[in-house]
Structures are given as structure tokens and as C-alpha cells.
Amino acid sequence: MAVDDAVREALELEVGVEHVEVLGEVSATLTRRYAAAVGERDPLFHDVAYAQSLGYANVVAPPNFLPGIICWTEGAPYDRLREDGTEGDTHLPGVPAKGVRVMGGGEEMHFTRAVVAGVVVTRRTVLLDVTPRDSRQGPMLVARYADHYLDDTGDELLRSVRTVLLR
């Protein structure tokens, strides 16, 4: 299976539909691991005392941490993973659980405020549009999702528009 009219039509039904998900508390371990994985040694991301000396309650996450996390749960059972290994039911509203290959194509991010470990994050996701495109590997769909990440009080932490390539 690849992207076809049925996949496109299913996605188009999702355009404009808002999905709200409480992602949970951002742990200091997760933000530190993220910082370590990208090669960040800034003590702001690792050292609580240093972060507190700058007025933060805890270590801070690198700016693109929130959209960088692909899955905020324990993950889907193996029989619900797509052939390419991606989760069949997370963060891609309208994309079939099987048979579609998914790749990141880019992102536009606005960093509203620092993400400090301990914050409970909620994400609002809307599929903005779906555009067919031909590629060397065959037909492709380009889907653009808008994400808003909010803190415990509903204040915005970050907003982004991500481009997802589907084959």
C-alpha cells in the first residue's frame, strides 16, 4: 500500500479537526537526556543549582525539546507499529495505522517561553492541509500539522507547524 486517493480523502476529513492531548509532566531526566543526545553541555540544561541561580525552578529543556519528542507514552504494542516502525496511532491524526511511510520534512517553531522540568504539558494539534506531490519514489502526500504546546495554566510554551511526508 502507498498513498492513494483513499489515504488523501481520509486525511482531508481530518483537516481543521483539533485534537487535545495531555502529554504529562516533563521530567528532568528526560530533558537532560535530550540535551545529552544533541550534544548540549550548557549547565542550564543539566545543573539544577545553576538553573535556579538564573531564576528557574528546575533545569530547562533545550528549545526544540517539545516537538522533538515523538511519543509521550509508553508506546504502542508491536502489532500496531507501521512497517517503518513508527507508531500507528500517535500524533498524526488522519494517517492510517498501516501501510504508509512517514518522514519529517521540516518545521516552523515559535518559542514562547522556556520549558522547565516539572511542567505539565498539553498539546493541541490540527491538520492544516494535505498536498499531493510526485517524488522520485512515487506519489507522496505532504501534510502540515499545527501544534500548540501549553503549560499547566494554559499559557503557550511553543507553537509549531510541522511538515510530514507520507509515501
Binding site: L30, R33, Y34, A36, A37, V38, G39, E40, D42, L44, L54, P62, P63, N64, P67, G68, I69, I70, C71, W72, G75, L81, D84, G85, T86, E87, R101, V102, M103, G104, G105, G106, E107, E108, M109, H110, F111, Q137, T163
Partner: protein, 149 residues
């Protein structure tokens, strides 16, 4: 803070190179719970038409983010970052980012906004992997008079 005193539209910033590795790509997938096989299954990557496992698009984004924050410093604020992945990079590539000042604008009181055009190239053939842009809010006092002339 005087490191940006020479800043003008058109200024080219110092490059920053990230030497990726299979270990880094794995750790990034693990930290972000990214289970896409293209990042850890070489046979799958080859079947998909690539020579090896790929650097994640968000890891490219993290490199661009780090470039901006390393350059701008503690009292600056990275406001916006956009990136478009043009070509893949495989684990083991060295990826070099260069920023060019595309505009210097007035910000809030006592602040300035610096727009950067960002290009990330892969070391093996100097092809562009990622193009991006960023807007950074920083203290006006960091800039020389006439920075936005």
C-alpha cells in the same frame, strides 16, 4: 557583552560543525522515543534507497537550535526557528552550519531582533542538507550604532 558589535546585515557568522555518529542517532531516537527504522535499521534504510541510517529531521533542528543559542548567548532569546530538510544525512556525517544575518530590526524596549539565514551542509560532498531561518531577540546594547543600516 560585545561579541555582536560587528554585526550587520550580511554578516556571516562563524561556522559550527556537528560530527554525528551512529551512537548519537541511536541516543536521539531513544530520548525522543522515535521508533522509525530508518534511524537504526541499516538494511531497512538501504531498502528505502539510502546508504545508511539517517539523521533525524528533529536532530537537524536541534543542531540549528544549538547554533543559534551558542552564538547569541545567555541574555538573548531564540524566538523563531524554521527548517526545511533538503537532503538526507547519514549517521557519521559531519554537518556544518553557517548563519548569515539577513536583517537587524528594532525589537521591544532596549531590544533588537536579528534574523538569520541558516544553511547546514554535509561534509562528505558539501551538499546542503537543511535550510532554515531564525529570529533572535537580544539586548540593543550588544549591537553597534547603525547595525541595521
Amino acid at each position: 557583552m560585545t561579541v555582536h558589535q560587528e554585526l550587520r546585515t550580511g554578516s556571516v557568522l562563524a561556522p559550527q560543525t556537528n560530527q554525528t555518529s551512529i551512537t548519537q542517532v541511536f541516543r536521539y531516537s531513544a530520548a525522543t522515543w522515535n521508533t522509525h527504522r530508518i534511524h537504526y535499521d541499516k538494511e531497512f534504510a538501504i531498502k528505502e534507497g539510502y546508504p545508511d541510517v539517517l539523521v533525524q529531521s528533529h536532530l537537524h533542528g536541534a543542531f540549528l537550535t544549538k547554533y543559534c543559542t551558542d552564538w547569541s548567548g545567555r541574555d538573548a532569546h531564540l524566538m523563531d526557528l524554521s527548517l526545511r530538510v533538503r537532503r538526507f544525512a547519514v549517521a557519521g556525517e559531519s554537518l556544518t552550519i553557517v548563519g548569515t544575518v539577513s536583517a537587524v530590526r528594532a525589537g521591544g524596549e532596549g531590544r533588537a531582533l536579528v534574523d538569520l539565514a541558516l544553511v547546514e551542509t554535509r561534509g562528505s560532498d558539501q551538499e546542503i542538507c537543511v535550510e532554515g531561518s531564525a529570529t533572535i531577540d537580544l539586548p540593543l546594547t550588544w549591537l553597534a550604532d547603525g547595525a541595521w543600516s
